[in-house]
Subunit: 445 residues, 2 copies
Amino acid sequence: MSNSRKNMALGVFLLGAGHHAAAWRHQEANARGNIDFRQLVQLAQTAERGKLDMVFIADALAVGRSLSSIEHNVGGALEPFSLLSALAAVTEQIGLVATSSTTYNEPFHTARKLATLDHISDGRSGWNIVTTGTEAEAHNFGRETNLAHELRYERAGEFVKVVKELWDSWEDTALLADKASGIYADLDKVREIDYKSDWFTVKGPLDVPRPPQGYPVLIQAGSSPAGQAFAASIAEVVFTAQQTIEEAKHFYQSVKGQLASFGRAEHGLLIMPGISPILGATEQEAREKQQELDALVLPHVAVAQLSGLLNFNLASYDLDGPLPSIPLPEASTSGVISRIKMLVSLAEKEELTIRQLSQRVIGARGHKTFVGTAVQLADLMEEWFRQGACDGFNLMPPLLPSGLDEFVDEVVPELQKRGLFRTQYSGTTLRDHLGLSSPYPAYRT
Amino acid sequence: MSNSRKNMALGVFLLGAGHHAAAWRHQEANARGNIDFRQLVQLAQTAERGKLDMVFIADALAVGRSLSSIEHNVGGALEPFSLLSALAAVTEQIGLVATSSTTYNEPFHTARKLATLDHISDGRSGWNIVTTGTEAEAHNFGRETNLAHELRYERAGEFVKVVKELWDSWEDTALLADKASGIYADLDKVREIDYKSDWFTVKGPLDVPRPPQGYPVLIQAGSSPAGQAFAASIAEVVFTAQQTIEEAKHFYQSVKGQLASFGRAEHGLLIMPGISPILGATEQEAREKQQELDALVLPHVAVAQLSGLLNFNLASYDLDGPLPSIPLPEASTSGVISRIKMLVSLAEKEELTIRQLSQRVIGARGHKTFVGTAVQLADLMEEWFRQGACDGFNLMPPLLPSGLDEFVDEVVPELQKRGLFRTQYSGTTLRDHLGLSSPYPAYRT
């Protein structure tokens, strides 16, 4: 299966000092980069210089899995909609994607924040839809426990429906602002939605006129069967963690294969695995960079982080022994379960000790790592893209800002030379960049 | 009673085309200014050029009192936190004040959005605390009716308490980010708040480190007895609508007089009435500008707007007859009741017809209007300030951008000449501008 897309899509996941767990300790790092707006502006402007499709901000509604996790790991971050709106003011073309939970928000608030970001950015917004997976987040919103997995997806489906109806509550041409007649809004084209269900009762209309893109781009990262089905039904971009080209092809075909049953075309959804590259002028230089970063991680911190990813405390096990049998948590998200299975399988396949596995996953938290030269990275990306393993990549540079500078200065030109990536933006909106059509809702004029 | 403050405080209430109901129809106006980010940037930068203390954004969680109200009036706006964060990126010094409801939000979300705005702006944020007064807003959040007045204030008091505890959950020096030791956060200085009450259960800590200002500046606009008491207990700035210097002095003394009972000093709270000035080189020119704006209002629109302000439908009454007896709504906010009393009293005192009253209030929605020269306006502002009727003003220019340009170019220099207003910013934060001290919470290092 080859990819019919000419250009691959490229996003970058912005995270203060970088994605490696110890990046903030590196001599080049801005250790407070995660809350330093100037650092984040610099990263977004570099990504725009590289003509990337979008910058992406993750989100959690708690400092970490537990308070103790921030003793050695970066914790605390800026609220995504505020941050991305601010980045919109100092960028011109790049897409801006905010993560936001459907479990601990109201659809009216979410619809208006996304519509606002879309207006401020002239149509460059996207929404990474998450259902929120941790108990720590539940505890900040008056709940003893998180909603069960299936209820979260049920709520998420309805939540997205309400949000779309709110965006549709103003037709494209509803805002007349006609000075001569004195008619501001055409009341035939603004409607109450009167949504009523067990989950939500929302009258509408939205208090923000229709977003320039119609709908901001909808993004999801479901990987369990339920998650894949949800993504196939509503998402236009899927973020995913894939270790090998074979696994990536399998996932790609699985998700794309479900689109037809929702009446959707294959090109209406892009699949973008994460990739965490460490680049060097030579392979040897890249490996040295990796070792330099790994040396900054305290072993007990690495194992604690692996324990978090596995939802299983490894503190009492021999660091240099094998991974014990890891139970799958019952009431967790599909994402967590898929991640645990992937890590267990990785340890078995390569016969890794706990120490080795923890070192392996620290840099990319389950995403594909790469260590080598820019040309080698371009080779890998080209292979994955041309062989139908993905439609592009979500970059997670281990160390920032250098990891993004190197990518933009060395890898992007190589991809451009091969005809795999744009040399300039051909449109103005995130939908334009990604080659996604505008939505055609019932109410559209 | 004279004012001990050397400088008056000045804010400007940003609203697309201006505060006059028909401003958007004026030939100079950007009719879509309310959702045009570039227009709002221009206004904020002009205010900063004038060394104003702050820009202020109102908010409502519905398009208007009813959907039909936006047929002839501006309706729909950008979400305040997103907008102000974006403005923070393109301004350097001016304060940025967001309105946000305590009734239809969660304290955790509000605390993090304000902390984020404070980080992005390096300490220039403020929060105008509102309890939300309309049924239309209730209907967008699954409620048949709004919370009763006293319950809204009860919730608001607790809401602010939780938000402050979340800001205090990180001490000033909690974020070490110490590369050498590998300690990111000092766990002795980050705490769960474990807040539990009938209204809120929030574990914390906040997922954003402590805001640069400690707390963003707290602003309120309560005018009923309950509203004044709430303001006296927690607010650092009070926005108010006062028509005459006598009424303003009375309000000023009433609110300031309550501070001692909450253990607060008089200088810890600023009172800023709204003022809506139309300026001309001569009085005659200013009056012509006013007539030009008033001529753009359709009479039935003016009466509908007055009906909204009075919570009473005047459509069936003679436009040129007197105001009928207006009943006070039972389940409404103090703000609404105070406003109705003020309008009824104004009509009685000046023997205004419905048409005359509607024209009078259109420009400023109950706030003080002024028509004259820059020097005359400076006279009025000086009198109110020196005689203890206010600590400054919240500008509501009827027509924008010209109304703000004229104020900055003509009135600000006149106030500066008289030693009533700063010629440059002497500090960096909104607290610095307003002369407010930092909070000293229990947890502060």
